[in-house]
Symmetry: C2
Subunit: 255 residues, 2 copies
C-alpha cells in the first residue's frame, strides 16, 4: 500500500528534514516512529527538504507499506503520533495512488515568511517569526513582489550548494499582508511556486524587506532576474521565520 | 528612582511569576538579571502573579533603584535583556511615579485565552494555545460572555487556595473572535477586568467553551453567579492557552 502523510513540525530543534549522520532530523523522526510502531524500516519521501530550523504546517510525504501490515490508512496518523516527539505530528494519513512519489509529483508549494517589527526581541513572537527593526513600506514591497512573479531564472536568488539542474522556476504568486499580533506590527509574505532553489524563499523574503525599506532599488532586482549574480541582493533571512504551508499535487490528496 | 518595566515571557518552562524555593520563576529571572547587571538585589513587584505555564505579552512590574545607580530609565530594558534567558524580555523601561506599586496601582488587566480546533495536536499552535476537538457555536458563546460581564461575586469561578478577601470582581468586557491560523480554526477569548481570582480566567474560558458546545446551560452560569458553587461549572483550562496581554494604570505609564 502506498500512503501519504500530512505532517506539521516545529523545526526549531531539528537539523532540517533530510536524514543525515550525527544529527536529528524530521525524516529520521518519522522513520524511527514507523519502525517503533509497525516494525519495518522504510524510506519516507518528503515533498522536498526543509533546512535546519524551518517549520512546516503542511509538509507531505509518501511511503510504501509492506503487504503484511494491515492498517486502515487513516489510522496511520494516530499510530505514528504515539511515538513521534511532540514537535512533529502527522495531521492526516491517506491511501495514495500507487507510485505517487511526494517529491516528484509535487506541482506547487506555498511557503510563508513571518516577520515582526520591534526594537527588542519578543519571546512570544521569536519562535516562528524574525524580528526586523523597521516596518517596510507596503506599496514598494508589493511592487517588488510583482516583479518576482512569473517564470524567471532565479539563479541569483539561491545559495551556492544547490544541485538543481535548472535555475528556472515559476512563482505563481507573492503576497504580503500586514497585521498585528499581541500589539506588535507583523508582516506575512506568502510565496507560491512550482519549486524553489536552495535558500530561495529566505533570499526572496530579504529582497522584499530590503526593497520595502528603501535599501534595495527595484533596478537591482530586475538586474538579478536578468542574469545578474547573488551579490546584487541582500542577505539570506534566518530559518525561524520560514514555514512550509502546503504542497499541491493537482488533486485533493487529503480531501 | 522608581522604575517600571513592560515584560513579555514565554511561560512554558517557568514555574510561574512568583519567586519560590526550588523552582525557576520569571520574578527570579528578573531579580537575578538585576543583580548580574547592576550589583544590587531588589524586589521586582509584578502587577500580579501568573501561574506556571502562563505567558505574558504585557506584564508590568515596578522596582526601586538605589541612589547610587546612575542609568537613564529607558536604558534599563536593554541592560537587563543582556542577562535574561531568551524566554523573558523587557520590552520597555521607564521612570515611574514615586511610590507607584505595580500590583496595588493596577486598575484593569486584560487576559487572552487561545484555543484551536483540530482532531490532532498541531506543533506550531500547541505552544501558545490549547487544542479543543470541536468548534463552539459563537452566538451561544457570546450570550454566555454577556452574562459574565459586569460586577459579580465570582466565588464559583475560582479554585480553592485563593487568598482574596472578597470574591466580587468586575468584568468590563468578555470578547470572542474566531479566525484561522495555518489553515486551522482558532478562537481568541479576551477578558478585561479590575482583577481576577485564582484560576478565574482559565475557568471562565472553560465555561465559554462548554456553553458554546452545548455542554453547559446558561442557567447553570446564572446560578454560579448567583452564589452557586464551583461544581456547577466545568474544568479549569490548561495554562498554555493563557496570556496576560496588558495592565492598565489609568494613565500612559509606557506612553
Amino acid at each position: 500500500m502506498n500512503a501519504a502523510l500530512l505532517v506539521a513540525y516545529d523545526g526549531t530543534h531539528f537539523a532540517g528534514w533530510q536524514v543525515q549522520e550525527n544529527a536529528f532530523t524530521v525524516q529520521q523522526a518519522l522513520e524511527d516512529a514507523l519502525f517503533a510502531v509497525f516494525g519495518f524500516r522504510a524510506r519516507v519521501t518528503g515533498s522536498g527538504r526543509t533546512d535546519a530550523g524551518v517549520h512546516a504546517a503542511g509538509q507531505v510525504c509518501s511511503l510504501s507499506f509492506p503487504e503484511g501490515i494491515a492498517i486502515a490508512p487513516e489510522r496511520i496518523a494516530d499510530a505514528l503520533n504515539t511515538r513521534l516527539p511532540p514537535a512533529v505530528r502527522v495531521l492526516k494519513s491517506v491511501r495514495a495512488p500507487e507510485g505517487l512519489d511526494a517529491c516528484r509529483a509535487a506541482k506547487r508549494k506555498t511557503y510563508r515568511y513571518n516577520v515582526y517589527v520591534s526594537p527588542r526581541e519578543h519571546p512570544l513572537l521569536e519562535r516562528f517569526s524574525v524580528r526586523v527593526p523597521q516596518l517596510p513600506e507596503l506599496a514598494t514591497l508589493r511592487a517588488c513582489a510583482a516583479l518576482l512573479e512569473g517564470e524567471h531564472d532565479f539563479a541569483a536568488f539561491s545559495s551556492t550548494g544547490s544541485s538543481a539542474q535548472t535555475t528556472v522556476r515559476t512563482l505563481y504568486s507573492v503576497r504580503a499582508e500586514q497585521g498585528e499580533a499581541l500589539g506588535v506590527p507583523v508582516l506575512q509574505m506568502d510565496f507560491c511556486g512550482n519549486g524553489f532553489l536552495y535558500n530561495m524563499v529566505r533570499i526572496l523574503a530579504g529582497v522584499l524587506l530590503d526593497a520595502g525599506c528603501g535599501k534595495l532599488p527595484l533596478e537591482a532586482v530586475r538586474a538579478a532576474l536578468a542574469g545578474g549574480g547573488r551579490e546584487l541582493l541582500g542577505k539570506t533571512m534566518p530559518a525561524a521565520g520560514l514555514t512550509l504551508l502546503s504542497v499541491d499535487y493537482g488533486f485533493g490528496l487529503f480531501a
